[in-house]
Amino acid sequence: MKRYDDPYVIGAGLGLVLLASFVISGRGLGASGAFTTVAAALVDSPMLNKSGWLLLEIGGVVIGGFLSALTAGRLQFVRSSRMLLSLAGGAVMGVGAVLARGCTSGLALTGGALLSAGSWLFIIAAFAGAYALAPLLRRSWQ
């Protein structure tokens, strides 16, 4: 099993991927938008953004994640150990992402790089929310 890459170097790589996205596709990265696109097929809501581009992109994310794990020897089938918290956390993030019009990929990374005021507010708020709740969940992470 390979060691993880240097976070700064891989972070810079991620930044380059984001840049490439702009140069090639004229738009930035995203993730929650793919979820809202699928949800929009089920319910009619003006708050659910639709993007076919993001559906393809998230498909790529799955493939890329799989390939990386495979080549690093990190492909492992592990059952969920914190099922309820994973589900609940995911749900709360889902609501938050709809409200904020994005998630860490679309707002923090893309919006942050573009100096969007709302995106920077989202970054600060997200870190604040996480650090605020962390003490209460400490047990669950052990």
Binding site: Y4, P7, V9, I10, G11, L14, G15, L16, L18, L19, F22, S25, A31, T36, V38, V43, M47, E57, I58, G59, G60, V61, I63, G64, G65, L67, S68, A69, R74, L75, Q76, F77, V78, S80, M83, S86, L87, G90, A91, V92, V95, G96, A97, V98, L99, A100, R101, S105, A113, L114, L115, S116, G118, S119, L121, F122, A125, A126, A130, W141
Partner: protein
Amino acid sequence: MSALFIGIAFGWCLERAGLGDARKLAGQFYFTDLTVFKVMFSAIVTAMLGMFWLTRLGVLHDVYVPETYWLPQLAGGLLFGAGFVAAGLCPGTSCVAAASGRGDGAMVVVGMFAGVLIGGVTLPTSFYESTPRGPLTLPDLLRAPEGVIVFLIVAMALTMFLFVERWERRA
């Protein structure tokens, strides 16, 4: 389509960073593993510098800035952060985790769908549409030249990186 290849590169980078592991991600919020901070801000700084210079050199034009909605994004951010520390994964990394075979990832994906559906249906539109500011940027907001903001963010990030590295070496 290029979206697929960009996504593959995205997913690859996330997994290489170790962000497909919920426990590793959660470490950020217990100060045991600051990978999230390092990766996120390295990416932001790199992309920000790239966008700034490519636009200044005329290679990129009229890049569309996401719109700002003060209240919904503040509330959405807080909620998102809370959910993030509970799940240990965000939308993008949950897909990577699931792709690596981690059950946590799959659960977060399912939860996210539920959350997005619930949000889309139950959130009051008046709150959702409140406090819009359009494509507001930090240079606009702070009435400072874009170059100054870029410099300040780079300076802040590099300072924090150095601080974090020193702090980690002591521990």
